[in-house]
Amino acid sequence: MKINLSINGKSYSQDVEPRLLLIHFLREVAGLTGTHMGCETSLCGACTVELNGKAIKSCTMFAVQANGAEIVTVEGLANNGKLDPVQEAFWNEHGLQCGFCTPGMIMASKQILDRNPSPTEEEVRHGLEGNVCRCTGYQHIVNAVKAAAAGAGK
């Protein structure tokens, strides 16, 4: 099937198998390997990307379902080498260790802040419910999201 979609502002027009997962389209057709497959069942959130402004799990969506969509992946956040405030905050606050969950964490965190620019700690934790990190114990991730919120509010 032919699909047209935009990823990080760039247009793609491609024939794909109907069963091709969106994450495999991103990683192997578009060559954007920042989005990671962690569990194949939408439980860990490592594959989180933004689709038409909403955070979704790209491991349980077919590429054909994204026909016509505008997608943003972690590679699309930095602008001319300038990091997104959420990326910067993850770096400053040590919000990552092995880094495997990090692209999904950053995309989910952006979504939290899009919906609520100044979340409480509890709201941040609730917002990250769909993303698993096995390294950090989440505390520095919570700090990062709160720091990004504080920075954006300045």
Binding site: R27, T33, W91, H94, F100, V132, C135
Partner: protein, 775 residues
């Protein structure tokens, strides 16, 4: 020409954000799955759905002719490949032949049976479903105590008692200690099987270059050099013809401190098809086929005087081995026995281990590896003893601690604790949590029928693993430091960090020693063709052992830099500071670039000095290090739902000197999360048929953000005398300190109901049943 920054600023001890992060936060890091090569094929492994079965036949015809499929291999094809080795030598260790693909029998659910290779991963998966395996299903046993019972199914028919090994250790005079005791407390304590669940599953890319007779193996591992040695031997390949690269590794926690069948299998496949091949473990495979941790049933007995003095400790430890020994399987429970006395001054111990085969995936090192189990055991027993004697759990600990004037302290298990001051972190934690006031509040709440608990754990660890005679594969670590002709610094470490941040902390060490900026330094790890032989990252060793190798290499290099400085400055009295060599008399200086330039140009050389600026050290640690600390957990229990709410989590950890507090805090938080996972939620459950019931993230409850309490992380600092950095290691502290503090807290909360012990995980259902029954 590039310039080397010279700075008076120092870096060790500061909260410096990590140098590895830019690639990780921008999605540009390269994990195994991100590697693409021309002509690359994909492998999917067909695995046994049965825990025990005889393979009558395997029909691969349909799969071989399926679209896109290049070939299918079974155990018959791979018979020439060496067995997956157990790296531990012990008297009477029973080692089953662990072939990379099953031959006549399968021994656990997930046992690899065949591999399908296709040009596309979807087609490989399709074809795997077309393989027909005729199994004769046999009785299985998944519980180690049931496996020891008479008449249990034999996991390996040649050993009908299912005993994999036994181990015995006596220290002091245990019989005398128990004979003289006023009180003996006994308890069966389970440390349940856990799934390490690194966020990145395992994965391998193998690339055979036939014309060069060279195998490149990209694998998600903590030990690339050991993988090279072992897999090359399995494949019958000369070791120097094999290159192992651990690219970005997405977490390991011990599960990647191993050599797996799939690593050799992919090497075999690539050599057969003469093309690169990629295998990426699915999450389901990660649950069923990557090693599990823990899996203990412990029978403890503690003898004490009426005043609380501990006289002796007995432990009978039943270790669930699983179907095979992986690299270190039989070693892990021995670490538990070594750590039996904890922080307490008792010289009488007896430890007995029975390793038991079950039809489950093997157990091996998972964060803490034997030490969380031991700490959980002794810290639970001390609380049980305190309850028996109606003593305060803090008081009984303070009474029994090895006091700080006793170091170095020889333990009853043959260790020599390097340094310690055990009362200080406990007292600090008691102050921070407001212990006296909390006990008053608890008394008030009990009058109202409310359940609030205060749990203390004071833990010790065996870290910086370790002296080579005490390890199966060498316990040293290596480092090379090069100053390039431009003056820039390159470090090659034999450790293999995968999230622990040594690209930053090692740069901090080198920057301070050389007086250069962090940006002048690059740390390279994880490639056997680039880095000298190394051991790897595990057992809280990378900084304490690998960092020390780096420190000594830097000293060698500094001596050589000085020689060139003396020659260029025509002085015999020079100092090395802030990236230059200064003549102490004239004040004239030569920068690193000038010295590096002279060293590589080599027009003139100092006496008895070779050109170039490079130093390599292999550092053998004279002992382990022994970090310690105190964790206190305050819980409130909802008697209607059985929910445990953690009100306070106070951790006071002593890991010696701290190189980067930001990274140390991160290690503690992550460690606590895994300890809390064991205490409250996680459990690998096999049913009686050997099916892993908790085989996905739907059923296996890893901690999520909203499940975690705020961790109040504090420190005391007792430097280790074992290494010049004074560091002890912190990777496993949180995990080791956590679980007994949580369980002690919940048992304390429920003690008015007569509760004396509860086994993990403390699920709401378990707690609710306790409360409902008593009410």
């Amino acid at each position: 020409m590039a310039t080397t920054t010279t700075k008076t600023e120092t870096f060790v001890g500061k909260r410096i954000r990590r140098r590895e992060d830019p690639r990780l936060i921008t999605g540009t890091a390269t994990y195994v799955e991100d590697i693409q090569m021309p002509g690359m094929h994909y492998a999917v492994i067909l695995r046994s759905p049965h825990a025990a079965a005889r393979i009558r036949s395997i029909d691969t015809k349909k799969a071989v002719s399926a679209p896109g499929v290049v070939c299918v291999f079974t155990g018959k094809d791979t018979k020439g490949v060496g067995a997956v080795p157990c790296g531990v030598a012990m008297p009477d260790l029973r080692v089953p032949q662990h072939t990379i693909l099953a031959t006549e029998r399968v021994y656990f659910v997930g046992h690899p049976v065949a591999v399908v290779v296709a040009r596309d991963r979807y087609l490989a998966r399709d074809a795997a479903d077309l393989i027909e395996v005729d199994y004769e299903v046999l009785p299985a046993v998944a519980d180690p105590e049931k496996a020891l019972a008479k008449g249990a199914p034999a996991v390996h028919p040649q050993w009908p008692d299912n005993v994999a090994f036994t181990y015995h250790q006596d220290g002091g005079n245990i019989d005398k200690a128990f004979a003289e005791a006023d009180v003996v407390v006994k308890q069966r304590i389970v440390s349940q099987r856990l799934v390490p669940m690194a966020m990145e599953t395992r994965g391998v890319v193998a690339e055979w270059r036939g014309a060069d007779r060279q195998l490149n193996l990209y694998t998600s591992t903590q030990i690339p050099h050991l993988v090279r040695t072992i897999v090359a031997a399995m494949l019958g390949l000369e070791e120097n013809r094999m290159r192992v690269i651990a690219p970005e590794v997405g977490g390991g926690f011990g599960s990647k401190l191993n050599v797996y069948a799939e690593e050799a299998l992919m090497g075999y496949v690539s050599m057969k098809i003469q093309k690169p091949v990629k295998w990426i473990e699915s999450r389901r495979e990660n649950f069923t086929c990557t090693i599990h941790g823990r899996g203990h049933v412990d029978y403890y007995e503690v003898a004490a005087k009426r005043d609380g003095t501990i006289l002796g400790i007995k432990l009978k430890l039943i270790q669930d081995v699983g179907a095979y020994h992986q690299l270190l399987t039989p070693l892990i429970p021995q670490l538990s026995v070594l750590m039996m006395p904890g922080l307490y001054n008792t010289q009488n111990i007896r430890g007995d281990i029975i390793g038991v085969f079950t039809n489950c995936v093997p157990t091996d090192a998972y964060r803490g590896a034997g030490r969380p189990e031991a700490t959980h055991g002794i810290e639970r027993m001390v609380d049980i003893l305190a309850a028996e004697l109606k003593m305060d759990p803090a008081e009984i600990r303070l009474k029994n601690f090895v006091t700080k004037d006793k170091f170095p302290y020889p333990t009853a298990t043959g260790l020599m604790y390097d340094s310690g001051d055990y009362a200080t972190p406990l007292k600090k934690a008691l102050d921070l949590v407001g212990y006296v006031k909390l006990r008053q509040e608890q008394a008030d709440l009990r009058k109202q029928g409310k359940y609030m608990g205060i749990g203390i754990s004071t833990y010790g660890e065996i870290c910086a693993i370790g002296p080579s005679p005490a390890t199966p594969a060498g316990g040293w670590e290596s480092a090379t430091v090069k100053i390039e002709p431009s003056g820039k610094v390159t470090i090659l470490t034999g450790a293999c960090p995968h999230g622990q941040g040594e690209e930053t902390t090692f740069a901090q060490i080198a920057a301070d020693e050389l007086g250069v900026g962090l940006d002048d330094i690059l740390v390279i790890r994880g490639d056997t063709a680039v880095v000298q032989y190394g051991i790897g990252t595990f057992g809280s060793r990378a900084t304490a052992v690998g960092g020390t190798a780096l420190y000594y290499a830097l000293q060698d290099l500094k001596a050589k830099i000085k020689k060139f400085g003396e020659m260029l400055l025509e002085s015999d009295d020079v100092s090395l500071m802030i990236g230059q060599v200064i003549d102490n008399k004239s004040g004239k200086a030569k920068t690193f670039q000038e010295i590096a330039g002279a060293a590589y140009r080599a027009l003139k050389l100092p006496p008895n000095t070779e050109p170039g600026l490079l130093a390599t050290r292999f550092w053998e640690p004279p002992n382990f290090t022994f970090p310690f600390g105190a964790h206190i957990v305050v819980t409130d229990i909802d008697d209607e739902t059985g929910q445990i709410k953690i009100r306070r989590y106070v951790a006071v950890d002593d890991c010696g000197n701290i190189l980067n507090p930001l990274i140390v805090d991160g290690q503690v938080h992550g460690g606590v999360a895994q300890g809390l996972g064991q205490a409250l939620w996680e459990q690998a459950v096999y049913d009686d048929n050997g099916q892993l019931v908790t085989g996905e993230l739907t059923d296996y409850a890893v901690p999520r953000a909203q499940m975690m309490p705020w961790i109040e992380s504090h420190h005391t600092c007792t430097p280790s005398p074992i290494n010049p950095l004074g560091v002890k290691g912190v990777g496993e502290a949180g995990t080791i300190g956590c679980s007994p503090a949580v369980v002690n807290s919940v048992v304390d909360a429920l003690s008015p109901l007569g509760v004396r012990h509860l086994d993990m995980p403390l699920t709401p259902e378990k707690i609710w049943k306790v409360v409902a029954k008593k009410n």
